[in-house]
């Protein structure tokens, strides 16, 4: 279980997150919704340690990890699938996975399990990542994060720019991970993509967490969506 307690962060002197609190339970898909610039990606970066914490605590399974440097934090079991995938483009598929496996010293069995989830990657192990299609790149970014054997998985707009069949494939993997007990934090723009998989939703506005709702309660409340998303 991942818990953010009143975290503040920002770039330079510009504060982005203000006393943001959030809990992601193991075995749930928790979705962050909010407009551009509201602080969704910043929240993810604060969790991974790529943004320094100005105040507040980050607790993973009872242990405070907010003070750890980014590379130590990954070793506690935080898998990150960033917006735009950010693969190591000039490395091969196998090498990208290797980086993920090295993070927590995972075994070859983990690699096999991950490749079983994405058989298409197995066929392209020695291809350079930049030559993959968009959907395959997203699979690789996901697979790379799974090589950590994450307790928490952070997904930042995983379906951006993908065709529907790919979106389905990604969604299937996410729900399987949830069912296996992983805590999943998801940022999405497309609300329909969220509502069908999310368990709970937190709205974020100007760097503050506003409301947290069960996803099934959200269908009825178009006004809330309109207010925070402006759609």
């Amino acid at each position: 279980m991942l818990e953010l307690q009143h975290i503040d962060t920002g770039y330079g002197s510009a504060q982005v997150l203000r006393e943001l609190s959030l809990t992601v339970q193991s075995g749930e898909i928790h979705c962050l919704l909010g407009r551009n610039g509201a602080g969704k990606t910043t929240t993810m970066k604060a969790i991974t340690g790529l943004m320094p914490l100005w105040a507040g605590r980050i607790v993973l399974d009872g242990a405070e990890i907010g003070a750890l440097p980014a590379h130590e934090r990954a070793k506690t079991g935080i898998g990150y699938i960033p917006q735009g995938r950010r693969l190591f483009t000039e490395l091969t598929v196998a090498q990208n996975l290797e980086i993920g496996l090295m993070t927590r010293g995972a075994s070859g069995a983990v690699r096999d399990r991950v490749l079983d989830l994405f058989p298409r990657l197995r066929e392209r192990l020695h291809q350079r990542a930049q030559t993959l299609s968009g959907g395959e790149q997203q699979m690789l970014a996901t697979a790379r994060a799974l090589c950590i054997e994450p307790k928490v998985l952070l997904l930042d707009e995983p379906t951006e720019g993908l065709q529907p069949s790919m979106i389905d494939a990604i969604r299937t993997v996410i729900t399987r991970l949830r069912d296996a007990g992983t805590a999943i934090l998801l940022v999405e723009q497309r609300i329909d993509a969220v509502l069908s998989v999310a368990d709970r939703v937190t709205f974020i506005e100007n760097g503050r967490g506003r409301e947290t709702l069960a996803a099934r309660d959200l269908h009825a409340q178009d006004t809330i969506i309109e207010r925070y998303m402006g759609v």
């Binding site: 590379h71 070793k75 490395l91 290797e98 980086i99 090295m102």
Partner: protein
């Protein structure tokens, strides 16, 4: 000597220059590639390698080969450690900001140079080569009896010079294998491609940077140890290698190792050859202006691919 043998002699000298230059420039290129910073103090790490080599060889005494062998191992390691320490205490604290890094490495340049002047002094000192047999070289000529070999006076090289070329080749292949075949190489390349993602996957980027900076300096120092038996160690000897390495790295395409090696051979050879036919100063003027214009009109280098 006639033109043909003369050119051959010039090419051999050029090849030695190219070998040492390739080592030095690959060090600079590695640092630029992975860390995206320009190390202006690179030439001083070269100089430190030469000065330490003299110091080690002199302290050891005994057979020249023993002293030289010790210098070949110890000097690059020492220089690498000094550089890594500089990275951790200084570069890390300016956040590897490209412009501030240039300014602090200029500061480092003066500090290293002047400390050497204060301790080692202004003299140029030689290191004895471990072996140095003169090899006369033949030249082919149409004579009265058709095609024949003859040994023109002055056309020769030494076993040591050939060994320098060989050693540089071996080390460069080693660097290539390190970068492409090993885990640490993979980690360095991942850091180069995306520093943030490397961190997000548990790579201790700061330690990798210190390692790369140390490795880059050690390569320069190694080049210097190889060259001191031919040139002498002097506290101002870092200027030329720095300038030439810059030229090589820019022509070869910033951060590209194969490009750097090709450019080092090209520049080293042509520096040797042009210097034979023109004055060295004119050669340097032309090379410097060429590099400036390459950066202005083809910033990706002559061999680099234009980014999409």
């Amino acid at each position: 000597m006639e033109f043909g043998p003369y050119l051959m002699l010039a090419s051999l000298e050029g090849a030695v220059t190219a070998a040492v230059l390739a080592l030095t420039a690959v060090g600079l290129s590695l640092v630029f590639g992975v860390m995206r910073v320009v190390n202006v103090a690179h030439g001083e790490f070269f100089m430190l390698g030469a000065v330490l080599a003299w110091w080690i060889a002199t302290t050891m005494g005994g057979h020249p080969a023993a002293g030289f062998a010790a210098a070949l191992i110890v000097a690059p390691i020492l220089v690498g450690v000094i550089a890594a320490a500089a990275d951790m205490t200084i570069l890390k604290r300016v956040d590897y900001d490209p412009e501030r890094t240039i300014v602090v490495t200029i500061g480092l340049l003066y500090i290293i140079q002047q400390l050497t002047l204060m301790t080692y002094g202004p003299e140029a000192r030689p290191v004895e080569p471990p072996f140095n047999t003169r090899l006369a070289l033949p030249w082919i000529e149409w004579g009265e009896n058709g095609l024949g070999l003859y040994w023109p006076w002055g056309l020769s090289t030494t076993t040591y010079k050939l060994a320098v070329i060989g050693a540089a080749a071996v080390v460069l292949i080693g660097v290539w294998l390190l970068m492409t075949r090993t885990r640490i190489g993979l980690v360095m390349r991942a850091t180069q491609l995306d520093r943030e993602m490397a961190q997000a996957f548990g790579i201790p980027v700061e330690r990798i940077y210190a390692l790369v900076f140390g490795l880059g300096a050690a390569l320069a120092a190694l080049g210097a140890v190889l060259i001191v038996p031919i040139q002498q160690a002097h506290y101002l000897m870092g200027g030329d290698p720095l300038l030439l390495s810059f030229i090589v790295v820019i022509i070869g395409g910033l951060g590209s190792l194969p490009g750097t090696v090709v450019a080092a051979i090209l520049i080293g050879m042509s520096d040797g050859i042009i210097s034979v036919f023109f004055t060295p100063t004119l050669a340097k003027i032309l090379a410097t202006l060429l590099v400036a214009l390459v950066l202005v009109f083809r910033p990706q280098g002559l061999f680099g691919a234009r980014p999409a």
